[in-house]
Amino acid sequence: MAEKRVYEVVFIVDPDTQEDEMTKLTQNLSTVITDQGGTVTRNEVLGRRQLAYRIGRKNEGVYVLFEVEGTGSEISELERRMRVNDAIMRYMTVRVDEDRQRAEKLRARRQRKASKRPGFAAAAGGGGSSAPSRGEGGEA
């Protein structure tokens, strides 16, 4: 339970790589993760984007996002592979499970607070339904 960690890995691929090479590359990387015992829960090409600053004489890059579940060992292997690969201009891994847990807690607390004050909720629900519904929309 405590071992399951969730990471977001974003990397920038050289915009000059061919389409089929791109797919091969992402497939390779995801098999690296699965080989190490992790799972790729999300595999998304965010698309070609102008870089905010030049990286290795390139002004553009193709952004790819992985969401990985695992213990952390597959991340080190993945990062090693990406470091070696010339087509990958940059990568970054962010651990997200802790932040998400915290967010979940905050949301639960907010809900608890809202239900604790039935008068307030009833008044808000009866008075102007737009306000509470907007709040719920933000949470979802």
């Binding site: 984007r49 905010a52 970054m92 967010a103 907010r110 933000g138």
Partner: protein
């Protein structure tokens, strides 16, 4: 009637006090009426944001002025907790070239 006028004057007096001070500090925007200082509310608290995503460039861009620096809390009105999340997100976005470190 006269009492009402007096009361209005009182309110005016109260309003004018801070009004005189404000133009000095803020440079005074607008003119005439409505020069009351609006209390800034953290927009993330209003929207009940718990996670500020570093990939949300459109959102983050609101908090980096031309120079590329992070907008201070005293200007944006963001609360401490959310400012902390925001800076973290901006720094992450900079790392992967979604946002500039400097702009010039």
């Amino acid at each position: 009637m006269s009492r009402n006028i007096e009361r209005e004057r009182d309110f005016d007096g109260e309003d004018e006090g801070p009004q005189e001070r404000r133009p000095q500090g803020g440079g005074g925007r607008g003119g005439g009426r409505g020069r009351m200082r609006r209390r800034k509310v953290c927009r993330f608290c209003v929207d009940k944001v718990d996670i500020i995503d570093f990939k949300d460039v459109k959102l983050l861009q609101n908090f980096i002025p031309e120079r590329g620096k992070i907008l201070p809390r005293r200007i944006s009105g963001v609360c401490t907790a959310h400012q902390r999340m925001l800076t973290e997100a901006i720094k992450r976005a900079r790392n992967i070239a979604l946002l500039p470190y400097t702009a010039d």
